[in-house]
Symmetry: C2
Subunit: 197 residues, 2 copies
DNA sequence: GTTATATTACGTTACGTACCGTAACATTAA
DNA sequence: TTAATGTTACGGTACGTAACGTAATATAAC
């Protein structure tokens, strides 16, 4: 008898051990935060995670892809929706959180991923869609609520406003010409999104 | 008689052939604009420049350093000083030029150098001092002239203004979520540095 | 001046290392 | 039985360095 084709829906054979995936991502994340992207080699991940190199390749095609997966695994999108406060307060809180993240060692990861996205097209797409776009979406949502509530004046160009608040943060993160302090964020928001008197 | 010790000041021995240096930089620049930083390998530079690998190492310690040298070699600081126009017009012209550079293939080089600066401390220093700082200085100068002439209102925080004009440009360049058009630059400047009515 | 010598530039070749990505095969878990 | 995982091995690319020879130039001695 000819063999039946697999019944596509149910996974057969030995299932993947979720700890394998978790160990790989954890190792990649640790390496990323310490030594930047250059430290995230398949070799190093394998050693640190206690996993063989081929196994990593069975999950992801290359080291930067693992790094991106590890990065997005922790850097969830901000959940502004469930906030009960004033949208303006939520907006400021969101950017204080971003500033904190950028200032901390986690900021090194963000910078590393931006760097990686410059040379890897696939990574760039993932980074844009899963990180940049999500953060912009969250902020745009809050801005629209602020406008509805009359807390800020409706801007002529919403996308420009988003560029104006995110741009300087990334600029300082990547160039390192000045620190990202809460004071900086406050002045930035006061200038770009002043509360309507 | 014993030979006298060398008279330290004048360079002795065979002088370096300036064409060697030029060929290396030209090759590095070409590779950088096409394939980004990953394409700038010592191997590739050597081949393209018709030079041996050890020779390149006698000039620079590693590939990113060559790339940075090549980058700074062409990307001279903007010379706003000699402009005869209104400082406000000069300011807009400067940013139109930056936008053009960022939009063109040269923008790829800038992005590549930002990326490189994330993992190489020495490069980061050079990039900050020779590129970022110079551009900020040029803009700061023009802004101060505009203020003197009463063309714009004096800002509370000059450095923040610089972050506000440069940040979004780099942000778009590096994230690629939206193009860097002249219209974008115009709206950006209109918002951040409006001409005083 | 002419000549010898030091000094430096550059090419060639070779080495060992790191990491890559893949393939083959054995082993283990469901 | 099926698929996940480990083990081992391989070829490939690029790294950075070292050794050696040759070419080019400056300097010192004559």
């Amino acid at each position: 008898m000819a063999r039946q084709p697999p019944s596509s829906t149910v996974p057969r054979g030995r299932p993947r051990d979720p700890r394998t995936r978790a160990a790989i991502l954890a190792a990649a994340r640790a390496l990323l935060e310490r030594g930047g992207l250059t430290a995230v080699t398949i070799e190093a991940i394998a050693q640190k995670a206690g996993v063989s190199r081929p196994t990593i390749y069975r999950y992801w095609p290359n080291a930067p892809a693992v790094a991106m997966a590890a990065f997005l695994d922790v850097t969830g999108a901000p959940d502004a929706a469930r906030s009960t406060r004033s949208p303006y307060a939520a907006l400021r809180a969101q950017f204080h959180a971003v500033a904190d993240a950028f200032a901390a060692p986690a900021g090194r990861s963000v910078a590393a991923m931006v760097a990686a996205a410059q040379s890897e097209t696939e990574l760039a797409k993932a980074f844009r869609n899963e990180f940049i776009a999500r953060n912009r979406d969250a902020t745009r949502l809050l801005l629209e609520r602020c406008i509805e509530d009359g807390l800020i004046a409706p801007p002529a160009d919403m996308e420009l406003v988003l560029d104006l608040v995110f741009g300087p943060l990334f600029y300082r993160l990547l160039m390192g010409h000045a620190p990202i302090t809460r004071g900086f964020v406050d002045r930035l928001l006061d200038t770009v999104i002043p509360a309507s008197a």
